[in-house]
């Protein structure tokens, strides 16, 4: 599983024990190449988010190593984490600003990211007047401005309603195809995982390790109707079975 040639991200035998003694991750090894979209599903508290934090450098693993270029890493959090005192444009410009980009350039990048996620017309709105889905789009657009070769998604659509979630899944898929980044996605939703990914990894309960791996055979772009396909349902069932096994 650790063929790291041309990989955007490689986990090599990662283990994580927190200072209070909790062992969260154990022997995690896999890599993601450009053009791959890998989703990790697993029970709550199995260390999925910890894995992303390790990938991004927010946490140091207690065992193993990570190979990743962290200069232009895209990280989409569970919450949209928009700064409430900045309007949509200013929020989307934030990362470019932190990277010292000139004002003109970052305004252009923000504008095209806004168009890409369909937030045109809401440039001057403040986060408090946006719906949950729109906040998530703004958060996606903010990350897109850096044109990251690797995107980490920490269960970003968990807090929006089902229909918005489906829309966001389709839009994220479109961005993935358009921008060609490597994606590592964390979710609880099996349908979401199977719909978007090239590969789904199932993690066991704590300490989390990879217990199953599913290559998803459907071609991109995937249509919404795919969710009602028999083969789609079968794969979801398989993933679910593994997930239940991981729970017990």
């Amino acid at each position: 599983m650790t063929d790291s040639t041309n990989a955007a991200l490689t986990f090599d035998d990662i283990g994580m024990i927190f200072p209070d003694g909790t062992e969260t991750l154990q022997n995690i090894s896999f890599s993601i190449k450009k053009g791959e979209f890998i989703t990790v599903v697993g029970p709550s508290g199995c260390g999925k988010s910890t894995l992303l934090k390790i990938a991004s450098g927010l946490l140091e693993p207690t065992a193993g190593s990570v190979d990743v270029d962290r200069d232009r890493l895209g990280y989409v959090f569970q919450d949209a984490t928009l700064l409430p005192w900045r309007n949509v444009t200013q929020n989307i410009e934030l990362f470019c600003e932190l990277h010292g980009m000139p004002k003109e350039e970052r305004r252009d990048l923000a504008q095209s990211a806004i168009e890409l996620v369909g937030l045109s017309g809401f440039e001057n709105h403040y986060p408090k007047s946006l719906s949950g889905g729109m906040k998530m789009r703004a958060s996606l657009a903010r990350t897109l401005t850096l044109k990251p070769p690797l995107f980490l998604f920490d269960e970003p659509f968990g807090a929006v309603d089902e229909i918005t979630r489906e829309h966001l899944n389709e839009e994220t898929q479109q961005l993935f195809l358009q921008e060609g980044f490597a994606g590592l996605f964390i979710t609880h939703s099996i349908t979401e995982a199977v719909f978007m990914s090239t590969k789904v990894l199932v993690m066991s309960a704590r300490p989390g390790n990879i217990v199953a791996e599913f290559d998803i055979p459907f071609d991109y772009p995937r249509k919404p109707e795919l969710r009602f396909d028999a083969e789609f349902a079968r794969i979801c069932g398989e993933v679910s079975k593994e997930l239940r096994g991981g729970h017990s």
């Binding site: 927010l58 990280y75 569970q78 984490t81 700064l83 005192w85 932190l98 408090k128 946006l130 729109m134």
Partner: protein, 285 residues
């Protein structure tokens, strides 16, 4: 995109006029009724409960208006009271300004290093707990009995809420937001300027509004004890009390509270201008 708030906006616009009128009525009618009740009670005490030779204890409202507010000339006239009001306003203003400078500086310092916070906090609590009366003699030893001492009292009284609220605000930015800044290698100063400081504004303004009112109390209490130089409201109150000038005494008390309310409203206005667009905390009161 599918989930725009358009329908909500249209709906809220139609009911906007009605709800505004209702809110205005709610803001005006109950305080007006209660105010009338208080004035009625005041008349009742002055004219019914107090005999004529004891009426100096609570002069009736109309006497306060005619002999306090409308009598301009001489000592204890309105023009002298307004001068004193101006003097106390200056003391409160200077005291509050310095308290804001010191308060923000200390809060920022404490937010940057836990050791500084741990070192300073107990002493700030102690300073806040000292009754101002107890340190009046010390203040007069060190700064005399003039304007400076009044400003010092003002600072001591209004400093604490600014520090505590600003510090709380600086520490209130969510963990996820800090992670964003960490991921993009933001410097300490950038993090302070672009994340912690703006996040602190709502709490900071809450503290400023409390301190604004306290600075007026500080100015009047300071003036009460340190009477050299310009005569402030505190000195006038002291004089009117000793001469049993009930109307003038009540007038200066009312002027003091008008100053307090004025400063509070000024800071509420600044707050709404500064953070009203994005914060849920903003509002009239």
């Amino acid at each position: 995109m599918s989930d725009t708030p358009t329908s909500e906006t249209t709906k809220s616009k139609t009911s906007d006029g009605k709800s505004k009128a209702r809110a205005a009525a709610l803001n005006i009618i109950p305080p007006f009724l209660f105010g009338s009740l208080v004035i009625g009670g005041w008349y009742f005490i002055s004219y019914v409960m107090l005999s004529e030779n004891r009426r100096f204890l609570l002069r009736p409202p109309d006497k306060v208006v005619t002999e306090g507010f409308l009598d301009w000339g001489g000592t204890g006239g309105m023009s002298e009271m307004l001068q004193s009001l101006w003097s106390s306003t200056k003391v409160a203003g200077i005291g509050l300004f310095l308290a804001i400078l010191i308060g923000l500086f200390l809060a920022v310092l404490m937010s940057q290093a836990i050791t500084v916070e741990k070192a300073l906090f107990p002493f700030l609590v102690t300073l806040q707990a000292i009754p101002i009366l107890a340190i009046v003699p010390l203040i007069s030893f060190w700064w005399g009995t003039g304007q400076t001492s009044r400003v010092v009292v003002c600072i001591i009284i209004s400093l604490f809420p600014i520090i505590v609220n600003t510090l709380f605000g600086l520490q209130s930015a969510e963990r996820g937001m800090h992670d964003l800044f960490t991921l993009h290698h933001a410097s300490r100063l950038t993090r302070l300027r672009k994340l912690m400081f703006p996040a602190a504004l709502p709490a900071m303004f809450a503290g400023l509004r409390i301190s604004a009112g306290l600075s007026v109390i500080g100015a009047i209490v300071g003036d009460f004890f340190f009477g050299r130089g310009e005569v402030g409201l505190g000195q006038l109150i002291k004089r009117f009390a000793s001469r049993l000038q009930g109307e003038e005494l009540l007038t200066s008390v009312i002027l003091s509270s008008i100053l307090g309310v004025g400063v509070f409203l000024l800071f509420t206005w600044i707050q709404n201008k500064a953070i009203g667009k994005w914060s849920d905390r903003a509002g009239l009161v």
